[in-house]
Symmetry: C2
């Protein structure tokens, strides 16, 4: 077996003090005589000794570790949120386990159990399909039976009423959708389509619901044939716009599930000879890096990434420390409109 690192007992022996004293020096706790402190610290430095976090965690019941479960970091949205989570976690002196489920429920279960065994102090769930569908019920049960009472924060999802020790942080996609419609109608668009995404996933369901509700507030139509769902990526955008273009009557504005899909839509329109925004205004979501790459660049609605990350870590830590949450356990944050080139005033041509 590999040689062991030096332990607190080794340090204590060399200093002729007890392990308790070394521990006190390590944690700046209680009183240690200055002479002793310096003596011990010197030996610690001499050996580059650092306490074993496993042993520490075993006793303190706190690992200073949190888990993050998401579908895929290769998606720009998730990667960006992750970076913010990590930044905040570092402020709380926490390290994060990142688990990519690749949208596989089995893998999600597996990682959840794994994280529980690793004694994470808390879990952040991202992009999950936690609502009323069947697999969700199953996952919620797994959480209840095998993860409770470890706290969980869900980002852009719903877990309240299902798991006791939880909180949520969301982008207000409902309000964002109203912003979107308000903007598009102000440009003169009266026919709006929706492309990409998938029912059963929060960010699609919410947007569609909002779009429907917006009908009673704004003057526009949205026919069922103008909704083509598929996936959350570029290819999904391509597929759904190709589907849409088969219709006899077409909308003049298109809201895409996200910027990746919007990019697929923009490029496909252009290569089919349409003009964007001349023939179609295309609006994306997320402010992904891709949105500045297409020509025209994509007008989009961005998530409050930094807040999304920092608040979820803050909420999680409040629960970990069992601090009162001031009744706010579910928060919804405003999304930000980013105007670029893919939307424009309705033109003669489009009518």
């Amino acid at each position: 077996m590999r040689r062991n690192k030096v332990s607190i007992r080794d340090i204590a022996r060399e200093c002729n003090v007890s392990v308790a004293t070394v521990s006190r020096v390590l944690n700046n706790s209680d009183a240690v005589k200055e002479d002793t402190r310096i003596l011990v610290q010197n030996v610690i430095d001499k050996y580059n000794y650092r306490p074993n976090e496993l042993a520490r965690g075993l006793y303190t019941q706190r690992t200073k570790t949190i888990g993050v479960i998401m579908p895929e970091v290769t998606s720009h949205f998730f990667a960006k949120v992750f970076i913010e989570i990590e930044k905040s976690a570092t402020e709380y002196e926490q390290t994060v386990f990142l688990c990519n489920t690749l949208s596989d429920n089995k893998l999600q279960d597996f990682y959840t159990l794994r994280l529980s065994e690793k004694q994470v102090d808390g879990l952040i769930l991202l992009g999950g399909r936690v609502n009323e569908t069947k697999t969700d019920v199953q996952y919620v049960n797994l959480l209840k039976n095998n993860f409770y009472p470890t706290p969980v924060v869900i980002i852009n999802g719903k877990l309240e009423n299902y798991y006791d020790n939880c909180a949520s942080v969301s982008s207000d996609e409902h309000e964002a959708m109203f912003q979107a419609v308000s903007y598009l109608t102000s440009l003169g668009h009266k026919k709006i389509g929706f492309l990409g995404g998938q029912r059963g996933i929060m960010s699609t369901d919410i947007k569609l619901k909002a779009l429907d509700e917006a009908k009673s507030v704004f003057d526009f139509t949205m026919k069922d044939e103008w909704i083509k769902l598929s996936t959350y990526n570029y290819q999904g955008g391509v597929q759904s716009i190709l589907e849409l273009l088969k219709e006899k009557e077409l909308p003049t504005a298109i809201i895409a599930i996200n910027d990746e899909a919007a990019a697929g839509i923009v490029n496909t329109c252009i290569s089919k000879g349409y003009s964007v925004p001349g023939d179609f205004s295309v609006l994306g979501f997320d402010d992904s890096s891709i949105s500045t790459i297409t020509m025209p660049s994509i007008t989009t609605i961005s998530h409050p990434y930094e807040k999304l990350g920092s608040l979820s870590v803050e909420f999680l830590n409040n629960m970990i420390d069992e601090k009162p949450m001031k009744d706010v356990t579910n928060i919804s944050l405003k999304m930000n409109f980013v105007e670029r080139g893919s939307c424009g005033k309705i033109t003669e041509a489009a009518l």
Copy 2:
């Protein structure tokens, strides 16, 4: 303090057996009478008991955890490699800590110590600038003093001769550069420029060196003024092409440090009224998702992502298990040419 989870002793008590027996059931080790096994397993299931990995790791000196340190997951290349690392790690029953340094050396040091305290079984270093520069020497010393003897694998970097317990897995960017030049010269290009990247980082240094060496094999020129370095992203591509366009004489083919930069180059050329590949052939690297989004799409040279991930995890585990490495501790993998639309035969116009 939060209530403790059920422990192996609780299970043992309820079963009227010793903890050793429960442990044996958990690990399928030694012989346990079938009756006992079933009895114990039932109680384990009843309580959804799962052993505490901290305690296990404390004794076995193995945490089944590895660390990955990289600049940023928001970069597509790193995210893709990470996904592959995670897949392979899962096969080895390992969980991974992901640390993003945001290219900050301090943060890199910090995370390295953190991972050491967490007793990771091994570390994979990605995109680091480990070679002869000053900060590297400092980092290597940190590894030696505070991380050794935990094994380290570096992807697309060099650590041999600096750290004892290490291995490396690389994309053969040198050979890839020869492929690139061979391809471009075969299309008739005799003037090749190089844009993006940064000296001191392996993937830039190697490419420039290879480009230089290729001069004696292929018939082309590469003037110093045609090399404009900046960063690894879209903006870097934009900046460097704008710099290049100020030159009196211009190359007809451009090799970009990666696809993000290539995208910036392609789009900038187009918006300046040039044609790609009519006026400039642009070749990228990495096969990032962005390369299929620009118009034209970007001809690129891809990394063997899956191998990069799986071999680094395999090497790491060989070192963890102290298996002989058959003398292969540094491996270089062939990159793959992906022909798309951004390169073409040299035209009259470009001459």
